[in-house]
Assembly symmetry: C2
Homo-oligomer: 150 residues x 2
Amino acid sequence: MDQRYSILTLGTADMARARGFYEGLLGWKPFMTEGITFYDAGGFILGLFGHKELAEDANLPVGPVGEGYRGFAVAYNARNEEEVDAVLALIETQGKAHGAKVLKPAHKAFWGGYSGYFADPDGNAWEVAYNPFWPIDDAGHLQLPKTQTT
Amino acid sequence: MDQRYSILTLGTADMARARGFYEGLLGWKPFMTEGITFYDAGGFILGLFGHKELAEDANLPVGPVGEGYRGFAVAYNARNEEEVDAVLALIETQGKAHGAKVLKPAHKAFWGGYSGYFADPDGNAWEVAYNPFWPIDDAGHLQLPKTQTT
């Protein structure tokens, strides 16, 4: 098994609301197939699928999906601090209409970067961060430092 | 905000156990910093971080993290059906010692591919799939069809 993953699929309770957020507010372009909404992130993909359908597909009981922490977070690494501020300002000013909200305002993080969090309409935690030590290439790919290998 | 994400961070209740799975069983190579384990997936990253620390970082109450569905799934797209079988056979035969298990055996999926699921030591759902319509390039990046844009 190669050291990689291909798709992160987020469950949603309301596909129209979730698409309204990612497409209407963030401006992303979807690829639709088989009831799943895919957003091509340049070789990797973010997917949206109904909670019930995703749980069934994974052979798991769907159960309640709470409002709080649910075991993971997605990070969007921005190109600079200004982009972090801009994304969080967008969520702060226009997110409510789409069911999204800021969880944590942008701040200087202990690890030397600049970071904040928002929740998407289904409560999924998204970190928006600028890491001055991890450059992003033109294709949007993070470049980890080469100085540590173990 | 570009149409992409950078890092998927999975919370873990036991970092040593989780690393034993991803590194000891799957053979992945870590990049360690600030208490987080990062696996470079070629411009995108999979991270492991303690449940408590990740919840705190996102400004969310940690609460209980259940055994069942938790609102997302990660997919590993394999290059052929044989690779799907090989990954699931590895989990089936050696996963238990690392706290992992098969959730759903490999099978012909309704969308025309071949797919199964396993749970990592923290119960995170991983789909292992071969999609004949979505080729994977040498760098491991998925290539979505170009025929649909909305």
